[in-house]
Amino acid sequence: MSIRKLGALEGVVLGRASTGLLGQSTRAVSRAVTPSAAYAAAAAAAVATTAAAASPSAEDTAEPSSSAPAAASASARDSAPKRALYMDMQATTPMDPRVLDAMLPYLTSYYGNPHSRTHVYGWETESAVEAARSSVASLIGADSKEIIFTSGATESNNIAIKGIARFQKSKKKHVITSQTEHKCVLDSCRVLQDEGFDVTYLRVQKNGLIDLKELEAAIRPDTVLVSIMAVNNEIGVIQPLAEIGNLCRSRGVLFHTDAAQAAGKIQLDVNAMKIDALSISGHKIYGPKGIGALYIRRKPRVRLEAIQSGGGQERNMRSGTVPAPLVVGLGAACSIAKEVMQYDHKWVSFLSKRLIDGVNAHLPDVVRNGDAAASYPGCVNLSFAYVEGESLLMALKNIALSSGSACTSASLEPSYVLRAIGADEDLAHSSIRFGLGRFTTQAEVDFTIQQCIEHVNRLRDMSPLWEMRQEGIDIKSIQWSQH
């Protein structure tokens, strides 16, 4: 197996391993190791170097909370172990205290079932649910009759895609989506394929945006639905929703967008953007987890087949008792988001610029994945060349970050989104996603910048590829040989 297939970055770690194990610096161009030995050596080297290089003065990150008491008593320090900074707002967001304040009465005193029609417990909860519904609707410019509550954006996406497609199964058989969608959208489309639908997965350009001409070419007479997410959760790019909506409306195709990362952060107007279905997630906008919403257009009416059968709640589209406390929380989160959207956007843009400028000022060879302009500033995905992403994440142990989305982080494959935008294999492996939000502070961003610079420099100093780059050797021109 050619060494090139392992990727240049694996070569970096292997090079380090061979230096450590053999006790001599190897500058030879040829590296002959087998993949299994490579992983063992790489793991050992990564652990050894990270432990050795751990800053003695920095407080340790808190261990998982279950072992925190043991750690506190066992450690020589008086103080409890300190927690890492949270810089992963795309995975989830902390709940706003105002949202919790709105929810608590419904978790304690007003516990009625909103569908109970015969007593005050039901009436008061129902009216709270309806008030929340109108808050959610006004965030996206919809009517409250067009909002149904679900368990999250995943369920909303499932209902929208499977429900709309299956309703028109007899006449229309084609669905269009993009390669950078969330896993729930891609998986729903895969299920539709198994049911006999044709699905086109549109490619994205290098900046992460879809090409409208490609979309136009892909639409067929039997296309029922186009599903393109508004803001990507990994690279933060904002798709041209208004243009896509216009195109779909002109061709008589329904347009669904997964706005989990977009709602409450960028301006959305379902009528101006001609969106027919839209998914919202509660825990991405400082609301509670386990709740989401789905907007389904009523004029002209979008019909869909329900997935969950039951008592016919939520206009027969999603049966089940509506969880009043969660819904009230989502409503509060949406009304707060609408009020402070400009303020939050200004703050997040300021922090984002500070982060990017701070990193670029002191570190060369840093690539931002995704379009710099058409991007939500709170999601910054950077690739640090000549540094391995997992090692950098482990080194930045005082900061909670992610490389690739939370859904895919368990696997060792580079993220499919980065692959879809055509990122080099080695750069895809070394990408880190910084998530900034309402509650992020300037001090946290400054700390992150300083830690990034320190650890990236430290890891690069250990990298033979970095040495070669300093000497002016073009890495891509190297012929890696195999013994």
């Binding site: 920095a58 407080e59 990150t61 808190a62 909370s65 925190a68 103080s79 409890a80 172990p81 300190k82 927690r83 890492a84 900074l85 949270y86 902390p94 205290p97 105002r98 919790l100 304040d101 709105a102 608590l104 009465p105 419904y106 007003y110 005050v120 009436w123 008061e124 909860t125 009216s127 709270a128 008030a131 929340a132 009230v328 409503g331 509060a332 009304s335 707060i336 009020e339 402070v340 303020y343 703050w347 005082n398 309402r438 509650f439 992020t440 502070t441 001090a443 946290e444 700390f447």
Partner: protein, 144 residues
């Protein structure tokens, strides 16, 4: 279904978006003490009665005076500082300051009254939430 429903009050509208009346303080400060009720005159001298008196101080009938506003601002900041969670604490302080500065130029009395009421509601919310926040186990962040 003619039941008085209190649930609407459960949804706090948000932090204070309040006018400190900096721009119009010279014009209004002379007139506002006379327009405040007698009870509010008392509470100005007995600040130790507690934060609840802030809400009582500017009665619904009267406009909030500059002193009421500054008192509200100070109490909001004091309460916001009580958050154990670093991020909530920093956000509260920043948001309160920025809201007051942003609304410094509001002159419409109805709007001022509305903002003042919203500020009081926010103060009550902050008191509840800072108390709850302190009840649960909290480790400091690495930068604290």
């Amino acid at each position: 279904m003619s039941v008085a429903i209190r649930c609407i009050s459960g949804r706090s509208a948000g932090f204070a978006m309040q006018s400190p009346l900096y721009a119009s303080c010279l014009a209004s400060s002379s007139s506002s003490p006379s327009s405040s009720s007698l009870s509010s005159q008392h509470t100005f001298n007995t600040g130790r009665r507690g934060l609840a008196s802030v809400a009582a101080a500017a009665s619904p009938a009267s406009l909030p005076s500059k002193r009421d506003t500054l008192r509200l601002y100070r109490h909001l900041l004091q309460t916001g500082r009580k958050f154990q969670d670093y991020n909530y604490r920093e956000y509260s302080l920043r948001f309160i300051r920025d809201s007051f500065h942003a609304n410094a130029g509001v002159t419409n009395p109805e709007q001022q009254k509305a903002l003042f009421d919203k500020g009081n509601a926010s103060l009550a919310m902050l008191q509840r939430q800072t108390t709850i926040n302190a009840m649960f186990q909290h480790s400091p962040l690495v930068i604290e």
